[in-house]
Amino acid sequence: MEHTSTLERVLRAIAITLVILFFIFPIFWIVLMSFQTNETILRVPPSIVFEPTLQNYQALITGELDTAAGKLEFDFMSNLFNSFYLSTASVALGLILGIPAAYAFGRLKFRGSEDIAFTLLSFRFAPPLLVLLPLTIYFQKLGLADTYFGLIWVYQLIVLPLILWIVRGYFEDIPADIEYAYRIAGHGFWATFFKIALPLAMPGIAAAGLLAFIFAWNNFIFALVLASADKQPVTVGALAFVTASGIQYGQIAAGIVLSILPTLGLALYAQRYLVEGLSLGAVKG
């Protein structure tokens, strides 16, 4: 391995450059676009030299878009807010529901626990529309159709299996003796759960929560089917926005940048948790 030829090193460098170019360039280009006016975007040939402008972001934040057909009101910021609200609330609910269950599956091991855990995991792999389409009908009947709560509940389909499986692995890894020692010292079941199990599983809970947030944020199909216009997250909102704003490409780009920024930021900030979370704890990174 050590004696690499010059040719090989050159080939490697080229390969890595191509890889970085392919995966990073689209994001780079969209960011550039978001700072351009339509005139500079439409230049042929394209150039990375331009006068940067903030007017696209300004338009998005004020919600007043200039289109060919005149002024258009489009409340993109409320989509962003919806994404934040739905993802945060879903993860919070998922953690509240999922952590005790993960503890039951990981530590207490009861009759049928493996089967139930299996079933829950297989939810993750079922076609979402299978559940979503009948749900549209039920939601109409139950009056959940136009509520955040309905969406947050359905988002558990993404969030819960993820939290259950990652956190369960962490609970399994805590030596049982440590919890026994705390009980024997005189602390009750719940005290032990909160003072020992929870703090020791915290890295796993953080990984699960982070990943669940990103998955919830990035979800498209649930909200497309179930969310009314005023509850739409950015993934669905951006699509509608493309149709609405027509050829205001700079604004579209700015919208996309604002929508992917939170997840990219989170991912880069907490990347050490991600690798493990992505493989559901199968591979310790």
């Binding site: 003796d177 440590i178 026994y180 020692a181 009980r183 024997i184 005189g186 602390h187």
Partner: protein, 363 residues
Amino acid sequence: MSIQLTDIVKSFKTDRVLDSLSLGVSRGETLVLFGPSGAGKTVLLRLIAGVIDPDEGRIVINGVDMEGVEPEERGIGMAFQNFALFPHMDAHANIASPLTARRRTRADIEDRVNEVAELLKIRHVLGHKPKELSNGQKQRTALGRALAAEPSILLLDDPLRNVDAKLRFEMRLELPRLLKAQEATVIYVTQDYKEAMALGDRIAVMGAHGIAQVGTPEDIYLTPADTTIARLFGDPAINLLDVVPEQGGGGPEIQLSGARMPLDTAYAGVVGRPCILGIRPETIRFTEAGAPGVIPVEIEAETPLNEKTVTLAATRAGREILISRPAGTPGPDRGTAHIAIDPSGALLFDQATGKRIHPGESA
């Protein structure tokens, strides 16, 4: 009785670890559970502590049936083999945990933690997290946590297993004093027979099928229930020789390389029965040729240990025998020598079952 276990059964999946085990421990007594790993010693402690439940049987502590009593309500102190310190709390918080559970005042807790730390010589590391402690300090912290609330029952699961030899030696001297000072009922698990002998008021020897023998260290050493136990206690190990006692002039006797070794007359019933003769190496001494009952041997090897010298010798029939004498006392180190066996310490076991034959037992 401070702890009374009756007919305890515990299985994991299909593996029956404890089968109808009964055991009593008196108030203030130190009982050592001794046995190989896998004998269920740790399981037994966990059952008493209440972190796992028995499949069958009763556990009574201080007169109260423990069924349905949670571990935190049993008032037990326990130290684990792997220490099981709370990794996110410092040594102080670890030792204080039984006290906080008992809602002691802050000043009270402070006093008691310092007292315990003083006793165990770990005051200077109270602010350290477990991962910053040496193994010996971890072990003392774990012990301190078990002692902190002055529990009337202490369960110590092989606490010296994972510490180095020097510390183990020190603690073996220190622990009996510490335990006596506690006035607690102690169950102490170990795989080290010296620890068992040093610490136990009584020793319960566990085998593959539950408790094989319970008795004082002297009992176990002098009258082991079977050859397995005889071999576990004593270093160098007991000499076990296949023999068939014969009827001699004055009663039963054993022929060893031409020498006659008379047995107690109470062993009359064993004449003609295939037996195993057990002789402790320290009951054999070197002597001059010509005395009655003397056996000629060929010295094969000599191993000087700290406090004793162990000699491996072979009889004419080729049987190997270990002889132990205090270090510094003279003895042959090569060539031919003669040994004399003290018949009063000799043990007889049945060859088929390995069980000890009691004097007076008939064939």
